[in-house]
């Protein structure tokens, strides 16, 4: 019985740990499918975590915090898009700048606002959303249906994006822009507009992930609290082969690794905890080694588009 309880708890918390990574990874999937690499997710998530916390306290609602976080994420991503797409700066360089900028902005911003007030006020968390009927199911209900709305939203988003890319004209156009922008341009598709859209969406999603992390999962903001999840999210995109549903699976895998390592720390206190903390990152490296050989990335990824006219 204890084993069942343990496993149910592990599975449920795997979903919760996966959520921030999932949002960031799905946003990055869209950006990369359109041909833009944004390695600055870490910075955007940090700003999202900070802005979400402050926004939630100021507006008195976690949803207010989420909206403010997404707006800030889009602003940062907009900067990335401006540099990469309009000024054709190297996408990696701009992404690295974004990490540094996001780290600085969030840490400094936190001290200027709530962080400077002694004991920071608590943000109102997202309420748990039980689904009538489903949540009461044994085991399945406990694992899948006793979560906060953002967990459901993240999973729904993965399905929605998979459908969007496959079945809509915009999805087709975004795929074309990421594979062969010259062909898309010749077919009359606005390459830059599609790319701007996808990068901004990616920024909003990364910030939403950060917001969930601070407001909900941790219940407060700490400097550098994202601690590598932005990079894990990029690994998820590669591991998920740029397909939203596979990216969802990858995020769940990393969520499970994270949930497991915390429990293992408690079970085996005699083993240095640092070994367990490494787990998600070891999984990331192992996963990338597995898929690296068979991976085919969007052909125009990372390359600026220069129209031939």
């Amino acid at each position: 019985m204890i084993d069942t309880l343990f496993l149910v708890g592990l599975a449920a918390s795997a979903l919760r740990f996966a959520t921030p990574i999932l949002f960031a990874a799905l946003g990055e999937t869209m950006a990369q499918r359109s041909g833009v690499l944004n390695v600055g997710l870490e910075g955007i998530m940090l700003v999202g975590a900070f802005a979400g916390m402050v926004g939630a306290v100021w507006t008195g609602s976690p949803w207010g915090g989420l909206v403010i976080a997404m707006a800030c994420g889009m602003a940062l991503a907009g900067l990335h898009a401006l540099f990469c797409l309009t000024f054709r700066v190297d996408q990696i360089l701009s992404g690295i700048a974004l990490i540094v900028l996001g780290t600085g902005l969030s840490g400094f911003g936190w001290r200027l606002t709530l962080g400077g007030t002694g004991t920071p006020p608590k943000a109102p968390p997202f309420p748990r959303l039980d689904l009538p009927g489903l949540s009461d199911l044994p085991v399945v209900g406990q694992i899948l249906f006793q979560h906060q709305p953002m967990v459901y939203l993240g999973i729904a988003l993965a399905f929605a994006l998979a459908w969007f890319l496959r079945r809509t004209t915009w999805g087709l156009e975004i795929r074309a822009v990421g594979e062969n922008p010259a062909a898309a341009d010749a077919a009359g598709i606005g390459v830059l507009a599609r790319r701007y859209g996808c990068v901004l969406f990616g920024g909003a999603m990364a910030a939403a992930g950060g917001c969930y992390l601070s407001v909900s999962q941790v219940g407060g903001f700490v400097e550098n609290m994202v601690s590598g999840r932005g990079f894990i999210a990029i690994a998820c995109v590669v591991f998920g082969q740029w397909r939203p549903l596979r990216v969802l699976c990858a995020a769940l895998l990393f969520g499970a690794a994270e949930a497991a390592q915390i429990r293992l720390q408690l079970i085996a206190p005699h083993i240095p905890y640092q070994l367990f903390v490494m787990m998600p990152y070891v999984v990331a490296v192992a996963a990338l080694v597995v898929v690296a050989r068979s991976t085919r990335l969007p052909a125009a990824l990372g390359r600026p588009f220069v129209p031939d006219r």
């Binding site: 079945r167 809509t168 004209t169 915009w170 999805g171 087709l172 156009e173 795929r175 074309a176 594979e179 062969n180 010259a182 062909a183 898309a184 341009d185 010749a186 077919a187 009359g188 598709i189 085919r296 052909a299 031939d308 006219r309």
Partner: protein
């Protein structure tokens, strides 16, 4: 016939170049018109004006007698202009059907509606003779089929004016004939076709009229039926074209390269060529004919020291028994003009000078104690630009910014410069205009007359007959020949190619 498309006084000036000067042309519905000219004659500018990619400085474009000014490919498409680009604008990972509907409103407003267009796409594929299913990824198709997808894309958008940019440059003989047939059928259906080309064959195969451009101006307009080939050639080059002649009678010298029982494979791949034995002698041009992809590329790479033989041996008289590798061969006087220019011959982002230095830095005088010496490379580059008429702003321009023909001239010049003994040349004249082709062939013959050896890989039999002394044919994994060119006919060699 009333004109469907008319250009009047189109002028486009770029800094330092008058790309189009008062260009006028008309095309009627159901007519096939060629725009013929050498590289840099201004054909692409005309085409880009029609396709909405370039806005002219002056002049008018009329469709159905009404003035129009398309400002983007999309606006041009809405006016009924369809464009088939020389470098196909297709997304290889997407299917035939997806590529055809891409960017068109009929694909669906927000949701893709594959079922709604399926019948139409099937009809277009059938009309164009495209065998592949609409669900096949375009990347799996051969070049001829990809071109049909490009045409289907234009027709899907109800193109009434179809512009084809150098459509036969990458097609095989059979594919060319198929394309001509398609063009005739489209014209019969009332489509106006503009065919941009520098090949006379295209003009005589399908065109009703031809406009000849030179130096940005239209220098002549002819009805094809009333025109002789020589007349067109004179118009294109602006004078008579001196075709190089092979001087006969000179006795070939000693073998510079001896190939015995050679078999070749790509690393990890199957054997592509076997039982190859021949001598390449000083003072001769030995041609390798054949449909591309029959091991010619591997043979050239093996001779250049880049691909180790699977079995058999290659002996180089001038190496005196030392192990052949690419560096030693070059120092020994071997030049190599690869068929894949972008992949193997030039670095597009580097300057002309640096590209010349790339194959010369290990030659005496170009470096001292490991330090590059710029002066010799700069003056050599200057010399090559002059002798080979490379059109470039300067020796420090990135070579990728030059036209393909000008890049090729520099590459051939560079390789000839240190090929004191052997020149390996794969498709050295592909994609070049008539005047440049004649010039290049002359250079090959000069090298031969100086006592050098040329191994020429070409899929153009006319070229082989003009310059080669002996010919071999690559087909189904073997090399036939070599035989002296005077002892065979074009037909015989053609039949070996497909045997």
């Amino acid at each position: 016939m009333a004109a469907l498309l008319e250009l009047r006084g189109i002028t486009k000036r770029y800094p330092g170049v008058l790309a189009n000067d008062d260009v006028g042309l008309t095309v009627a519905a159901g007519e096939v018109v060629a725009v013929l000219g050498e590289n840099g004659a201004g054909k692409s500018t005309v085409m880009n004006v029609i396709a909405g990619l370039i806005r002219p400085d002056a002049g008018d474009m009329l469709i159905d007698g009404r003035p129009v000014r398309p400002r983007s490919p999309r606006e041009a498409a809405a006016l009924g202009v369809g464009m088939v680009h020389q470098h196909f604008k297709l997304v290889p990972t997407m299917t035939v059907a997806e590529n055809i509907v891409l960017g068109d409103y009929r694909a669906g407003r927000l949701l893709l509606r594959p079922a709604r267009n399926a019948a139409r796409i099937d009809g277009l594929c059938a009309e164009l003779g495209l065998a592949a299913a609409p669900g096949t990824p375009v990347g799996d198709l051969d070049l001829g089929a990809r071109q049909k997808v490009e045409i289907a894309k234009a027709l899907f958008r109800d193109a009434r004016i179809l512009i084809l940019d150098e459509p036969t440059a990458i097609l095989s003989r059979q594919e060319c004939d198929q394309l001509y047939e398609i063009i005739r059928r489209l014209a019969a259906r009332g489509v106006a076709v503009v065919l941009i080309s520098h090949k006379l064959d295209d003009v005589f195969a399908v065109c009703d009229r031809v406009y000849v451009m030179r130096g940005g101006r239209v220098v002549g307009e002819r009805r094809v039926a009333d025109t002789a080939r020589d007349d067109l050639v004179r118009l294109v080059v602006g004078g008579t074209l001196d075709l190089p002649r092979r001087r006969t009678g000179a006795a070939p010298g000693a073998p510079l390269v001896s190939v015995r029982d050679l078999a070749l494979r790509r690393p990890g791949g199957p054997i592509v060529l076997q039982d190859v034995s021949f001598d390449l002698r000083g003072g001769e041009v030995l041609a390798v004919a054949g449909v591309e992809g029959n091991g010619q590329a591997e043979l050239i790479e093996a001779l250049a020291g880049l691909l180790p033989p699977a079995t058999g041996r290659i002996d180089y008289g001038f190496l005196h028994g030392r192990r052949p590798d690419a560096r030693r061969l070059r120092q020994g006087g071997l030049g190599h003009v690869p068929g894949d220019r972008h992949g193997m011959a030039v670095l597009g982002d580097l300057s002309l000078e640096a590209n010349v230095m790339l194959t010369h830095f290990h030659m005496p005088g170009f470096a001292r104690a490991g330090l590059l010496r710029r002066q010799p490379a700069a003056s050599l580059t200057e010399g090559l630009i002059g002798r080979f008429e490379v059109r470039t702003p300067s020796t420090t321009t990135a070579i990728g910014r030059l036209s393909g023909g000008n890049q090729q001239k520099l590459v051939v010049g560079r390789e000839l410069n240190h090929a004191t003994r052997v020149l390996l040349a794969a498709h050295p004249t592909r994609g070049l205009d008539l005047r440049t082709i004649a010039f290049m062939q002359g250079q090959l013959l000069d090298h031969r007359d100086r006592g050098g050896a040329v191994l020429l890989v070409s899929s153009d039999l006319a070229e082989i007959w003009r310059v080669a002394d002996r010919v071999m044919v690559a087909a189904s994994g073997r090399l036939r020949g070599p035989v002296a060119i005077d002892e065979v006919t074009v037909e015989e060699v053609g039949s070996w190619m497909t045997a």
